[in-house]
Every structure is written in C-alpha cells, then in structure tokens.
Symmetry: C2
Amino acid sequence: MTEPLRLGIAGLGTVGVGVVRILRQKAALITERTGREIAISAVSARSRGKDRGVSIADYAWEDDPVALATRDDVDVFVELMGGEDGPAKAATEAALAAGKDVVTANKALLAHHGQPLAEVAEAAGAVLRFEAAVAGGIPVIKALTEGLAGNDITRVMGVMNGTCNYILTRMEDAGLTYDEAFAEADGLGYLEADPNLDVGGIDAGHKLALLAAIAYGTRVAFDAVELQGIGSVTIEDIRAAADMGYKIKLLGVCQMTGRGLEQRMTPCLVPAASPLGQLTGGTNMVVIEGDHVGQIVLRGAGAGEGPTASAVLSDIVDIARGTRLPTFGKPAAALTQATPAKSVAPAPFYVRLALHDKPGALAKVATALGEAGVSIDRMRQYGHEDPVAPVLIVTHKAAPDALEKALSAMAALDVVDGMPVALRIETV
Amino acid sequence: MTEPLRLGIAGLGTVGVGVVRILRQKAALITERTGREIAISAVSARSRGKDRGVSIADYAWEDDPVALATRDDVDVFVELMGGEDGPAKAATEAALAAGKDVVTANKALLAHHGQPLAEVAEAAGAVLRFEAAVAGGIPVIKALTEGLAGNDITRVMGVMNGTCNYILTRMEDAGLTYDEAFAEADGLGYLEADPNLDVGGIDAGHKLALLAAIAYGTRVAFDAVELQGIGSVTIEDIRAAADMGYKIKLLGVCQMTGRGLEQRMTPCLVPAASPLGQLTGGTNMVVIEGDHVGQIVLRGAGAGEGPTASAVLSDIVDIARGTRLPTFGKPAAALTQATPAKSVAPAPFYVRLALHDKPGALAKVATALGEAGVSIDRMRQYGHEDPVAPVLIVTHKAAPDALEKALSAMAALDVVDGMPVALRIETV
C-alpha cells in the first residue's frame, strides 16, 4: 500500500464537519475503494473551541488557512470556507502554487477566478476539483467532464438553487405570497447571509457559468450570465402558469450558438409534466443534452451536509485513485474566450399585464402584439373587482427582440397599467 | 503530446459503427479533451464488405477477433460483438492477458464472467471498463464507482430495459394487449434475437447484477437475481394499477441487508407521480440511494447507436486521460461473495384474482388474507358479465412470506379461479 493521502481542511461549517465525519466513519471502505488511506493532517476554522459534534483533537490546528494550505504534511487542500475572495482565494492560490491538489465547494471563487486558478494549478502540476460547487451531491461535473466527453454538448439546463425552488414550490403548494415564502425559507435557515445570492439568481448563476465552461471548453464568464432573480414572480403568475399547464422555475440555460455563448439564469415557465416541472422543494436537477447521447437528466439533493460532503469526498477519492484531469476538462490554455450572446432564438413567452377594463382595450393589446410580429397562442382575461383586469397571454414562438418591442408598445398604451411582465417558456 | 492511443474494434453493428463515426467526426475535440490522439488501428466484424455508412478502409482488418485483440498496434480492445461466451469472451480474455485495456458494452459477458475477467485484468495491469453495458448513455457506472464513492449505498433501483418499458407504456397508452405491444416492438426491431432476453428480464437482470457488484463490493452474482419477466402482466393489471395511482414497471432493485444481498428484477407497481412512474417509452432510469448523498436519479436513453457509443467513448476517453480503476471499483480479490437473500422486508402488494360471484365469496378471500396476517388497504371488485369477477386488492405492508401463504390459501378456495397474481408495490 502506498503512503496515506494527507488532507488539510479549511472551514468546519456544515460541509467541513460532514467531510470529517465521513472520513472517520468510512476509513476502511474508502481505503478499499482507493487502495490508499486518507488521513486528515490539519484543520483550520474561525473558532477552534466550538462544539461541532465531531472531535478535531487528532488534527493539527492552524489559525491561518494559507499556513494550512502550504503545510508539508498536506497533500490535498480542502477549501470549504466559501467567499469569492479573501482567505479562500489566498489559500487556494497558495496551495496550488505549492503543487498541492485542491478540492473546493466554492462556486463563487471559481466563477470569478476559475481561469487564473486553473492556470496556476496546471503550471504547478496540481489538480483543482469542484464537484461540490454545483448541484450538491449530484455528480454533474463528473458526468459532463468525463461521462459525456464523447459528445458536443448542445444545451445544459438546470434548477440549481434549492432555496429558490423551495420558495416557488411553497408559493404554489401553500398559496403563499413571495414575501411569505421568503420569510419561511429564512426562518428555516435556507438563505445565504446575503439573500440576494439566492433569490437574485447569483449563486445559481455561478454554477451555470462553471457548467458552461466545461460544456463548451470556454473560459468561465460569470459576468456574461443574464441574471434575473425570482423577486418579481407573483402568486398570480404561479397560479396563471399552473392554469395553463406550466410551472415557474428559476432555470439556468446555456448553449453555444453561431453568435456566441448564451447563458441565462431567469425565471422561466416549463411544462408541468416535464421532469423540470415536477421538481419540488430543495431538490436540484440538471439536464444535459449532447449530440450523441441525447438528453440526460440528473436529479438529487442540491445542498446540505451529507450531499455536499459526498461530492467533496468523490473528488478526494479521485485524487487518491490517481485520476488527474484539467480543471475544466481541457488544458487551461485551450479554453477559449466565448463571445457572450443574448438569446435570439424564437420562444413562446408568457406575458402578464394589467388592463383597464374599457371597450376596445383588449383589441389595442392584440394590435400592439400583432404589429410587433408576435402572435397569440392563448389569452385569458380573469374576472376582477377593481377596474384593472389581469390579462395573461401565451404567445406563439416569437423572437425575443420582437417580444421586447411588443412589451414597450403595450406599456405605452393608455389601457395598460404599468409594465407588462414577460417570462420565457422553455422547451424541455 | 504523447503517442496516440490505438484502438482495435471488434463488432461493427450499430454501436461499433457509432463509435467509429464519433471518433472520425470529433478527432480534434477528443484530442483536446484527452491530450492524446485516439486512433483506430484495426477492426473486425462478421462481414468485411458490408456497407455500414462509414468507411473502414483506413483500418487494418482481422477476421479473428482474438487476433485483433492481441495485435501489437492495439492498446485498447473495444469489444462490441456481444454474447456471453464465444468470440467476445475469448477475445476479451486474450486482450487482458496481453495487458491491453478493454472497453466493452457486453453486459452478458460481464454478468457471467465478471469476476474472472476482473482478476485477469488486474494480474496483467490492464483495465476493463463497461459504462455502455448498463443504461446506455447514462453515466451510471461512473456515478456509482466514482461520483458516490464516499457513500455506503443503501439501495439501487432501475428501469433498465427500454424494450420492456416500451411494451408496458404502449399497453397503458394505447390499450394494447401484451401480445399486441410485443408484436409492435418486434416490428420496430426493438427485441433481441432471443426476445426472452428482453421480456424475460434477463438483459435487465445482467445490468442489475453489475450495479450490485459495484454498489456493495461483491462478486457479480447474476444467478442469484430473482427474475420475473413482463409476460404475465395483463392490460387489466395495468388499468387497475392506473386506477389506484400506480404504474407497472419492470423494476430492478438491489440492496444489502443483514441476511445478505437482495437482487430482484420483477414487474412492480410504483407511484404514478414518482420519477420512475413517469418514465415512458424506451427511456431508462436508475435511482441510487446513499447514506450521505440521499437519492440520486439518473435518466436518459438506454439504447441506440448514439447513446451507447457515447458511453463507450467515455471509457476510451478515461483511458486516454490515464484514469485507471479496478473493474468493479475495488481490487478483484477484495470483492466478497454475498449471501443471496430473498426479500423479507414487508411491502404493500397488489393482488389480482378471479372470483366466482357467489354470496360470501369475498368474505372467504378476506378471511384467507387475514388468517395469513395480511391486512387489506384497498379492495375493488369490478363489474363483469361472466360469472367470474375480477377482484383487486392492495394490501398494507405485508411480509413476503405471509403474502405467499395468503396466495396459496386463496388459490385453494373454491370461489377463486386459478392462481392469484401478486406484484410488489415498491416505495420510491
């Protein structure tokens, strides 16, 4: 048997404790699977004395994660602190520069600094793995980088923020308003310290940017992700969507087109009967489409101690087994800079507007749509008590440009109250 | 750049041609992903001259797959001939013994000879990979062996024979009888030359046995799989199941219990609203449950040129990248011989019987169930014209032994016509 693989773990929150726990519970099983003992040399966290339900007395302690990352008795630096800059970045860079492999769950770090970190890793002959950064326990990075490596990827879609999906599911199932569902999620501890990371779509956008880089061999381009959170989704939208056979999801989509790389993380309607439509609560789902494999759907817990620690372990096990791949599935120098592209492919859209209930009002709306080249598939005007009637429209496939034009034209009408809301209907 | 990785491909049917096609189409992409050119040195098939829609003129030809497998210019032997013995086995053994890596899509070969082949591979320092053998394009072997390597697997379930699922779906959607749906599948070329491999559950049983070996670190034990095909499922069963909120699937389940390894591939009822219940047509689904990761669901095309070739390519790409794992995720010598166990865990069951419509008949049935310790959750007697009435029962959770006793007791009743049919209701 070869020498033990020695870990330095920085960050002993939920996930870090989960990793320590699994390594202690399953030492024999993991050694049998890898042919190598996996040992923890040292750990680092904010507070040494805190009771974490698992003993860290056997491990050396470092106050400074950078010192931990570069210890002689550490082969693999396991970064579970989080944060796109600060200590996580400094320690990851220091570890890689010292030729140590790094396993991280930090999507923000990689979404912002993935390219330079991949370059540092390669220059030093180290590997940088991040299965836990995307979709929790679902082995989606592995599926995309390895399992589907014989395919040109045609589209990747996903519901990758469990908190948003929880809020949307509660609005739908329990008839809560957005604010009520948000408060409930907050009370359950589901929200990040900065809730906008969740409900603003940023966290999910980080994950999408990482998947796009692997799928298309491009440099991570989080800044190019079209982001829209779920804060503007109303209970009326959810009910109207359900009424027409759809669910509303914060859906990430990336695809390479002739004009460049499309990346969007926005609330979309998906057919209620589709796998994405049937996803409830905090569960994540990633749909990968390849030219040969067709459509692959992966579903599982997107967060939590066990699932995330499971993903961290899979990266550690790969390293122990000697598997060494480039960070994004290709050498860093071969990753291309994609041109960001807005979606121009026609899609059906859901449109909600508030209409002053006057004779000829609906005709004006229909005319505005028609003049912009947008045709109506279904339209419903709901019963109402106040003078403003909710009107819902599902369009036939329309070019996004044409839809924008129609929305502006409708907003300018004296019979329309405020700005109409439009959500894309995604074909899945 | 290192030397090209040189393949010898035996078998140029649908999958073999797919592999050749992808390698020709995507040479540059694959080289970029692996850092290594992948070249085909030589091929072998039944007929050299056949038009396959792809040229094989660039490759050396061997009539004998064993000769192909051991050529000096072959690093990886790609076995796509099929068959549990004969040339596939001889050539695979010869390749491994010569220290060459092997990639195969042959579930029958591995289900019957997995252990000795893994031993030969290990002794020679070769790897034996078989992603394409289970669930087509879904990277399920990789997910189980690598992605979930930090878990103790608690259960693996799957719908893994697309032909059976197609037949069951057509019975349900189009109201066809089993014989009609079978004939339709046959006309579409969906059935193996020996249809019993499909509808008898053997092909799916092979796949389950391979997943069980990886999940539990045990020697492949196909002979211990409890097999029951779909031939006895009637349109009445399908309708009655639907009426009570279930679908019927040929479902594989394996789990390790205190008494040993349970492996069964039998028609089961699953909730219509569950991911397994919603699976239609030829699509496959594998559900993996781990102690830390929770439930992971993988779904995709289970057969066909593109998906299967995609899986073969993923194994080839792994080898080109230098990934080298033991065949079943552990050294062959560490795989244990599991005690085969029949399921004793209580489950709800669906029971269908033909009842002579006489006063007190139903009471006799209920008594027989009660005396065996089986309690009734729901019972329906359907309207009928002949003197024998169809009666459907959903039991509360019952021990399989108790159910067997109840079935025998009911069959012995003068008011029951023939043997009652029982199908397990699987909790998913």
